[in-house]
């Protein structure tokens, strides 16, 4: 079963966050956005400025796992909301 593990770092507080979600629990648009982020193989450029969040998204399925680093402005909002602050 395909699932996504989302980890977050950065922000003014420097706190980490984490969340997981099964691909089946995502709506089609968000699933497509996420899968598109794994295409290309090129490192995604970070957001301009400072104190931005940076997300690491790991896709796990039967064939293994793949991880991509995603700047905050490219993360689907619905997915950022499943991330829980760790403190």
């Amino acid at each position: 079963m395909e699932r996504f593990i989302i980890e977050r770092r950065g922000g003014i507080a420097g706190l980490r966050g984490r969340g997981e979600i099964a691909a089946d629990d995502l709506d089609q648009a968000d699933k497509e956005k996420l899968n598109h982020l794994f295409k290309g193989g090129r490192k995604l450029p970070r957001d301009e400025g400072a104190d931005r969040y940076v997300y690491t998204v790991t896709r796990q399925d039967d064939s293994g796992s793949k991880t991509v680093e995603v700047p905050e402005t490219l993360m689907p909002t619905a997915l950022t909301r499943i991330v829980k602050d760790q403190f």
């Binding site: 003014i12 507080a13 420097g14 706190l15 295409k39 995604l44 301009e48 969040y53 909301r81």
Partner: protein, 346 residues
């Protein structure tokens, strides 16, 4: 604005909408989709913007001033992530406390930089200062996006409204000052310096607003935005310049160079230069912005400050600035020299 969204020269939502347009060839649509995420041109534009910003350091004398007193504006994102949001008319008179706080505090930071360091806004040319508030839903963060400051409301548990902490407002605005001066990149030691400048000037602003001397200052970052859930666990702040490794900090930091974290988040390694500033201000005494602050400002804005600077080189700049600014008071140099030595940066 070219890099308004921080991503693409064509707004990302336009690219995405066009990528779903069935009247366009499949190949075109695929290309648009890819552009939204991975077009390298805007990366080159960003690099060019950085170079242009830095090049201004050498042409400042001939650059016209926009305003003697910069305009301060506030936009309301209305709990969306659309930037910059909707302009709020007369933000200084707004009944929305967040809007009014963002306006009042930013205006005060402008005054701090002007009276304390002779600086006219972020770019020293009277640049209009924009703040966006009510960003996102329960958004537990604030940031500088290369163009303006942005504040979340917090979730009310871990964090409160980010405009509530005056040092947070000054912290974000100072990221702009750094961008327009040294240009410290956001990685490695330069990243730690970038973050440290924001904490140091953020803390100084907080002290300046209350006209506090060293001993009366709390030296805390984010003390006024820590929410009840965090307080219940004993947290009092994001960071503490007087005790970077303290358990009362949501983000404890290293405070000696031997504990520098290679590849670490800039908010981690900033603890080392933060501690150097605190120790220098402690040794000098009085109001931190009057002597230690002036030395730090001189180093930050020095033409010899480079974007990939390491702690040691920045420390050297502060030592030199101490001698230049206070030639008849060797105690200032000694305080700064010993502060850096104390954190392991000779």
């Amino acid at each position: 604005m070219l890099l308004r969204c921080g991503c693409c020269i064509i707004p990302k939502d336009v690219l995405e909408r066009l990528s779903r347009d069935p009247t366009l060839p499949a190949k075109t649509r695929a290309s648009l989709e890819s552009t939204a995420a991975q077009e390298p041109i805007w990366r080159r534009l960003r690099a060019a913007q950085d170079r242009a910003t830095q090049a201004r350091l050498f042409t400042l004398e001939s650059a016209p001033t926009l305003a003697k007193v910069p305009t301060v504006t506030v936009n309301d994102c209305q709990n969306t992530t659309s930037l910059p949001g909707t302009p709020v008319p007369n933000p200084g008179s707004s009944r929305d406390r967040t809007v009014k706080r963002a306006f009042d505090t930013t205006t005060s930071v402008v005054d701090f930089y002007k009276t304390g360091f002779g600086r006219n806004s972020i770019d020293d040319l009277g640049m209009t200062l924009m703040s966006s508030v009510h960003y996102g839903i329960d958004y537990n963060n604030a940031f500088w996006n290369g163009v303006h400051m942005t504040y979340g409301d917090g979730d009310g548990q871990l964090f409160l409204d980010f405009t509530r902490s005056n040092d947070v407002v000054a912290h974000e605005l100072t990221h702009g000052v750094t961008q327009y001066t040294s240009g410290f990149v956001y990685t490695n030691e330069a990243g730690g310096l970038n973050e440290s400048m924001s904490d140091v000037f953020g803390s100084m602003f907080r002290q300046w607003q209350k006209n506090q001397t060293f001993s009366r200052a709390d030296w805390l970052i984010g003390a006024d935005i820590v929410g009840p859930a965090a307080r219940a666990r004993g947290y009092k702040c994001l960071r503490d310049l007087s005790d970077p490794g303290g358990k009362h900090c949501l983000s404890p930091q290293p405070f000696h160079y031997e504990d520098y974290i290679p590849g670490g988040d800039p908010h981690d390694n900033s603890g080392i230069p933060n501690s150097a500033f605190y120790l220098a201000a402690k040794a000098i005494g009085g109001r931190s912005w009057e002597k230690a602050g002036k030395v730090w400002y001189a180093a930050l804005t020095s033409k010899r400050a480079t974007k990939n600077m390491k702690f040691k080189a920045f420390a050297r700049l502060t030592r030199q600035a101490a001698k230049t600014l206070f030639p008849t008071d060797p105690a200032i140099y000694s305080a700064i020299d010993e502060a850096w030595t104390g954190v392991g940066v000779p």
